[in-house]
Symmetry: none
Subunit: 211 residues, 2 copies
DNA sequence: GCAAATTAATGATTTATTCAAG
DNA sequence: CTTGAATAAATCATTAATTTGC
């Protein structure tokens, strides 16, 4: 599991292990950010949103939202001075532009599946020409796309196979045994000659490596 | 992804074991076998024009049919009745059903890697309820699955996705990078000390075996 | 036509695995 | 046997598409 911190400028993306799990969790915005900006890479139909911002909040998130509002009370008060103008909330998640999507899909089509960090940085840098984007967006895009393509394919074959057999939900029980002997026959233990040949091979290999 | 049993041409069937299973190698046919017209276990892409054939017979009858025809050298009846339609050739090799596959993968997931002969017999007995199967199929399945899982991982970690074509580079101006580190971390390559320790270990092992 | 309501897609996180190094 | 690295699978959450009642 990856936790992440990032900055918008470089797309640099520092990960740490589970030790930072809890702290990093809170990086996730609990509400659409109260920033006053239009979408940098707005999709064609971005007009009807800003609806019912707080509808999906559970108690936990409501509490945290209130905590956050305490800090930014000054900004909220300034916004209250212009109540008739709706606060334009920037999207909480990346939304690829058509150009970005086209390039990403082309890259995928040509074989890119899990790009390296450098590749991600480069792709991100290129795609930034077409709109706001970060490295993690590229990373996630490939993760998701790969997974969902696989999922699609898997569902297809599963559907094909279910024609032949009805699913049986019953449990199977196969007990574990401790026997060491292997299938298919009674394995004859390796002869001394075999062992010796292997040993000498290994020895010569080691020696050649040392040279 | 491993494709054991799904490739009718037999291209995916290879054994990495020693001369012990040398005979099994010959199971790989150079050409599709011209015999048998029904499959015991439905393959995913079983041609739809023959669905009616498959639907008539339940698994039990199919199995029986196969057993009866295992020794026959040529297809007899169906070819004459449908001369223009290519004969549905059953693979001579095992093709796992979804249930069999599910159980095998579950066993693998739970830690079974190289089951003992007893385990194999037990597993085979359980899986026979879902279709024709032999002990060697189980044995080979685990061998192949284990090997291909390892192979898959190695491919991913070592020589993964660097398939940018030249055209692509030019078009998107995304240059190839040689770095192997992947998003988001940078794996440290094995040090020289590590390599040397391996060599000396191998050497000492060989020497101890010689005593 | 229009939003509210609903559904489908998909971006972002979390969880469960894998192999293999120590 | 334990653990690190690194996903891939499963899941959550938000956005877009679509439907629906007016």
């Amino acid at each position: 599991m990856w936790t992440l911190g990032y900055d918008d400028n470089g797309g640099e993306f520092c990960f740490s292990e589970a030790a930072f799990f809890h702290a990093a969790r809170k990086l996730r915005p609990l509400l659409p950010r109260p920033l006053l900006s239009l979408r940098a890479n707005g999709p064609p139909n971005f007009s009807s949103q800003y609806h019912h911002i707080g509808n999906v909040l559970d108690e936990e998130r409501k509490r945290e939202y209130l905590l956050n509002n305490e800090k930014s009370s000054s900004s909220s008060s300034t916004s209250s001075t212009t109540p008739t103008i709706p606060i334009v909330v920037s999207s909480s998640r990346w939304n690829p532009t058509v150009e970005q999507l086209r390039i990403l899909e082309e890259l995928y089509r040509r074989g890119t599946r899990t790009p390296s960090a450098d590749q991600i940085q480069h792709i991100t840098a290129q795609l930034r020409r077409f709109g706001k984007i970060e490295g993690k967006n590229v990373f996630y895009w490939f993760q998701n796309h790969k997974a969902r393509e696989r999922q699609k394919r898997r569902r297809q074959t599963a559907a094909d196979q279910t024609k032949y057999s009805e699913r049986e939900k019953e449990e199977y029980e196969i007990e574990e045994t401790k026997t060491k002997c292997r299938w298919p026959g009674t394995p004859t233990p390796p002869s001394t000659a075999t062992l010796l040949s292997k040993v000498s091979l290994s020895l010569s290999l080691s020696l050649s490596l040392l040279n």
